[in-house]
Amino acid sequence: MAPALSFEQAPPISVPYRFFLAAPCFGVLAGLLLAWSGGDALASRWAPQTLALVHLIALGFMLQAMGGALLQFIPVAVGGNVWRPRLVAAIVQPLLLMATLLLVAGWVFGNTAAFAAAVPLFVLAVGGLVAVVGDALWRTPASGMTLWTMRLASGGLAVTVVLGCLLAETLAHGLALPFVMLTDVHLAWGLGGWALMLLAGVSYHVVPMFQLTQPYPLWFARGFGPLLLALLLAWSGRLAIGDGAWSEAVAAGLWICASAYAAITLWLQHTRRRQVHDTTSRCFLAAMLSLLGLAAAGSAALMWPDVAADPRSAVSMGVLAFGGMFVSAITGMMYKILPFLNWLHLQRLGAPMSAVPNMKQMIPVAAMAGQFRLHVAAVALVLAAVWLPALARPAGIALAASFAWLGWNLLGAGRRYRAARVRILASVAVVRARAGQG
């Protein structure tokens, strides 16, 4: 018999929900910040408003959503036991929330003390999350490339946050560190070593399962994580030995590696035998096209110095990476994960299968499709606003509206879960009472 695995010890459904419901709130804040700042927030990657905007998305939206997903995904997908998930979530999530707001306040209000205050909170929140997630990932009896890639991603998160804390301390106390190079390495680990690594590892599991594709080719699943890790380590070598022609070769390797993941995912979607045109598939399509666009822009910046010198290049690449790619993919995941978790947790209440609502009833299809269209329009507007600053304020409003709609859809899934749970528990109680009388 296979080893006993652990859904019984999986977190209560409130754990992923608290992260998933907080995430869109930060997206709304990011949209409002853009609407308030106007074109200044898209003029350069170094503008304080731009850095605040990026971290509202990277930490507020992405890390909240990915952290919550990890705590639930590990038991369900790779059979790992997360230590005291309710307690971990109750500590990590508010710490992360406060740390993100402090960091953003540091840029928006020019308050360096806020950076210093954010650092210990990040160390506690992310340190706790990485320790608990790492423990569960290393002790699970399961195997497979999803598991290995998630292990690499949790290490990538730790490196990203250590580098980020060094940068925050530099801003707060003026440490003598190579700020620009350290920022580039921090960005590469955050986007590549953490977010892309995790997205790829989770994709190996959920893309075939939810989008009904063939599995990722084994050679790719085995090679992608280690290759990405090796390239990131080489990229980090810039800190020790400085830049050279080799660092451009490493950057090109990173773009090729990321493009391969996007191209294979698109190929799997294109060649599936049963075509599924749901919102999750469309979210992934948008995410992978954005990643290819990002890789093309990154390669252009490597080949033509004039492109790299234009500050708008880096900003437009950021819009593609954060808005086009990760927000799209995470939204698509949340639209599958929450209904599936609703179904799974309702299934465990002991009612007949017919009493559990269909997964497709958890979030209305039209609401998901409408929100996705608004998200794509918002990202396109933000991208256009990089070149036409007059569009920045309407783009910010569209972005805020899109995240608010996402939050409303996820809240609706929570309301439907609670209503179904009350109904099922009542019917189970009636059946048991009748059995007792008999």
Binding site: L5, S6, F7, A77, G79, Q214, R273, V276, Q347, M353
Partner: protein, 73 residues
């Protein structure tokens, strides 16, 4: 007799639903073969609750074969 459920082209949770339904109708000595592209960890707990035995094998084409039977005695 072996009942085969090919869940590779089904959207979750349909493979789980079909497996649990088929288990209810499984005759003594028969078994179930579930084909998937992933390891169904949530199903394993539900199988354990129902007193079933199972084994899984990963085929070279990436298909996961889960063979399920009722525990004897």
């Amino acid at each position: 007799m072996t009942t085969v459920i090919d869940g590779r082209r089904m959207e979750p949770p349909e493979p789980l639903e079909r497996t649990l339904q088929a288990l209810d109708e499984l005759a003594e000595g028969d078994d179930l073969l579930l084909l998937l592209h992933c390891q169904p960890h949530p199903l394993y707990t539900l199988l354990e609750q129902r007193g079933c035995e199972w084994s899984d094998v990963l085929r070279a084409d990436g298909t996961r074969e889960v063979r399920i039977s009722r525990q004897r005695g």
